[in-house]
Symmetry: C2
Subunit: 215 residues, 2 copies
Amino acid sequence: MRPNDIADALEELVFTGEFRDGDRLDEITLAARFGVSRTPIREALQRLVVSGLAEQLPRRGVFIRQPGPVDLMEMFETMAEIEAACGRLAALRITDAALASLQQANARCLAAVTAGDADGYYRENQTFHHVIYHETGNSFLEQEALRLNRRLSPFRRVQLRWRGRMAQSMAEHETVVAALRDGDSVRAADTLRAHVAVQGEKFHQLIASLRLAAQ
Amino acid sequence: MRPNDIADALEELVFTGEFRDGDRLDEITLAARFGVSRTPIREALQRLVVSGLAEQLPRRGVFIRQPGPVDLMEMFETMAEIEAACGRLAALRITDAALASLQQANARCLAAVTAGDADGYYRENQTFHHVIYHETGNSFLEQEALRLNRRLSPFRRVQLRWRGRMAQSMAEHETVVAALRDGDSVRAADTLRAHVAVQGEKFHQLIASLRLAAQ
DNA sequence: GTCAATCACCTTGTATACAAGAAATTGCTT
DNA sequence: AAGCAATTTCTTGTATACAAGGTGATTGAC
């Protein structure tokens, strides 16, 4: 197992909640667990620290750093702004083929909603957003969007469990597609921002999901 | 010298052009240069790779990866969108004190322009933008903006050498301040995006600066 | 003379040994 | 018994030794 894979595995363990906020990631224990020496473990831990999932205190070790309510609000607000930017650029550049695939993803979303298939909805929702990132024609922005999207995915996932959220999200997707189809960059940005933003009831859902994760 | 400092020093060497695109960063040479063993060098190199300044080919080494024209265009476009987002939020939240410090920074910018002091202008221009990042009230977004700003700083710096650019940039700052003062989030976003965007003559300047750097 | 295969050397990647600092435990003092 | 200090132990940080893979050169064959 290589340091990259170890870092991915550790990320997964953070996301799934095996590691809690404040936990110290002991190098020796992890080395034993992954069957390697401390060296590749240290490299993996460094990656966690750089990506913001953990914090390093010199001569003390690295500690899991789960975002608190304020951090999450800030990250979701930033995500909303980045999605808005993606929508703005995509409205100017999206291809007909990509528009069609957006509508296909939406159709599959709808099918998942009616089937009550939360996992399926989550998957198709992801492709919907990924297509928009890609259609910015800006691979750098695309990567940044993917990075933040991935970082927030564990929290977005919990939100979908809420009654009626999937249907509402679907409707918002439709308005986004309409704006993109019309090449209306302002409307594309505004609808996407509103879609991603965490406000009103969604805020309470988010806090609730935090309490669940902290159990 | 600790890995963090070594990484900073290496970044600096990349920015100042001592390391060129495609150069391999030899662990042994660097270890000798910094008077440490390969271990802290490897940690520093990892940081460079994660931050996108270098590329790692397994069993081959890490290589400096200077952005090409396309990369730069994408990065500047992304920066423009992020600045626009910062302007949008700052317009809603900026304090009177911060507005005053923006105007002060602008005044010092003007003084630098008339004095032909490019370095002074660069410095005050940076504080101008940093204040806006901060006034988003969103420290996560602020950090992201600072990160990308820092990454692009070597390229922005060269652009200021161009005749008339400083005066034009100044005028744009004034329109930004006006929009922020009026709490007009749309205009703040639009003026900041236009200010940062690389279009028309600025595009040619950027390419020219690239050729200079590649000498 | 050129191309290919093999071999030697060099570099990266991993394990381990060593150094230095932090925490915990134990013993002493009040 | 409680608090403080010293020592011990454990962890991180760094250096070095070892393993594995890649590059390049040299030699041999066509």
